[in-house]
Symmetry: C2
Subunit: 369 residues, 2 copies
Amino acid sequence: MSEGLNMSRRIRRTAYTDRVEREGVSGFSVVNHMLLPKAFKQSVEDDYWHLREHVQLWDVSCQRQVQIVGVDATKLIQLMTPRDIGTMRIGDCLYVPIVDQNGGLINDPVLLKISSKKYWLSIADSDLLLYALGLATGLKLEVIISEADVWPLSVQGPKAEDLVANLFGEEIRRIGFFKFDWINFKGTKQLIARSGYSRQGGFEIYLEGKDLGSELWDLVFKAGEKYNIRPGCPNIIERVEGGLFSYGNEMTRENNPLEIGLRKFCSLDGSVEYIGREAIEKIAFEGEIQQIRGVVFAGPKCPTCSVPWPVVLDGKKIGQLTSGMYSPRLKANVALGMIIREFWDTIKVVQIDCLDGLTRQGKLSNFPL
Amino acid sequence: MSEGLNMSRRIRRTAYTDRVEREGVSGFSVVNHMLLPKAFKQSVEDDYWHLREHVQLWDVSCQRQVQIVGVDATKLIQLMTPRDIGTMRIGDCLYVPIVDQNGGLINDPVLLKISSKKYWLSIADSDLLLYALGLATGLKLEVIISEADVWPLSVQGPKAEDLVANLFGEEIRRIGFFKFDWINFKGTKQLIARSGYSRQGGFEIYLEGKDLGSELWDLVFKAGEKYNIRPGCPNIIERVEGGLFSYGNEMTRENNPLEIGLRKFCSLDGSVEYIGREAIEKIAFEGEIQQIRGVVFAGPKCPTCSVPWPVVLDGKKIGQLTSGMYSPRLKANVALGMIIREFWDTIKVVQIDCLDGLTRQGKLSNFPL
């Protein structure tokens, strides 16, 4: 399902929008008040196969960077997340769930430590900047919080490393998973991380300086020709199969980090002080009442999931799915959602109600699907 | 310009989305992670004429209600806005710019005082809830902050009052501008305000209870037939002519309330304590360096304004426009934007660069255009 998107300045263009338009973008989503390309000339299924074999260039500028600088930067960020950031080193990327006083998820960004007093939070779809600003103002912390002039460009797929090494040097290959380093581009120093919103491997270039966008796109795209590069975007089939969750889809402020499988990232021994600690500890002690699971289910190709789909067992609702798509590889529908604890280990057949009047049956699955 | 919008749960449907789809919605925008219908079957120009003569029903659910309840509710809200809310009465609606410590605009909601300890902030496109939550947490205030289960439905146009009075009783006519009262609907008490995002008059029903959406829509739509009702949406021609600004378009955190003409709403005598007071007082003392103005300009119909258009005088950039459209009534293009102080009173001809390679000339104008 795709309807018209009315453009305005408020739906911000990125450093690469001119280029994705030139490449024939046919659909967008809106994330952080910014355009996220979601469809090009090929089908989602075709893009899925391509992503698994070659390399794609994604405009993920909507992963805005909330920059926090100052003597209290570490303190402020630690207050916002149950994950212990104390051992984080410069050059690390860390997935940090951000929670409110009840443990409810506000965002699930990747934290980049640029220096001892400077961080970027590479955010999902909520104005985390405003939460950080409110907290810092209320606590009178010495920090400067801004949206950095940074435009992530993602190079994803099995050929991404060869492409990036070819362009920026062989030392790129030594960057570890969820680590970053610096490259030279047109006389500027730019951050590159081994990360990205797929399970196919790849890098994200955190381009600083919007005006450089078209040149960077063109450089990577041209060099990618021999690797069969394509413009692309996060692929819903690939991410659902891979168990990559999406804030606003799989989780909202109604959910806590334990429900999305992040118990291991939550400090539970009282050694770290953060907002929501009591709530998180209580949930951890009592056990979360639901958790994300994958579902593989048969039947006709499922529609777009724009409202949660009930999962039913023996006439009882045992959960809901929030992202789903037909997988041409598994030759079945795949989906993600919250399943109530008592039913996690079921091997029983469940019914999926895609709200289109059809009946579909399947089973829960661990990740990857 | 309208491209495809990819749907997902994250782009939330409203209490009325089923109904606007039935009515043939053809384009959406996304505001506060929620669908805002932006186009139906008729053209924007046709809708413009209709809105000025008849009555329209708008799904403005994306005006989310940030509910703040508690003994510190008034204190928290006053901290967030330069406008003195001390004299506000229950039943009042108040336009309250929200600013950060530098006076930068975070949102420009309408504040509704439901009781002495309960407010709704009817917000524009930014997660004001997160800012309020951060502040309240940092300051340890006794408040509960949530997104209310409230779905504003707007009835706009010169026939709106007759329609609403016909449906809910003649006493509706006694509700003053920017005041609210309560109506009965299917055994529930619902808030109705004389307000709305047009200059044609009208009401907004703040429906509490998402499940009641379709019934309310159907009730108003059916009763509206004799008034020539249509499904509609905020009309860009009408709002630009009327000088109604849009957060994210005409203003961002880079702007302050004085720049959008709100000096009269800013407490400048030190009698009210709020975040950003020193910054606002300094701007007020020195005078804002730019301010919103309208521009009426000739030439071919302007395109959609998705990046600011430079305004040029004698080869020098004197401002930028952020929303614009051709007005069939004025038989000219109309637009809104920031103009540098030295050029506010110019009667000179300025050049508008709509970034489409064409030259257009016009003049600044006061509101309404």
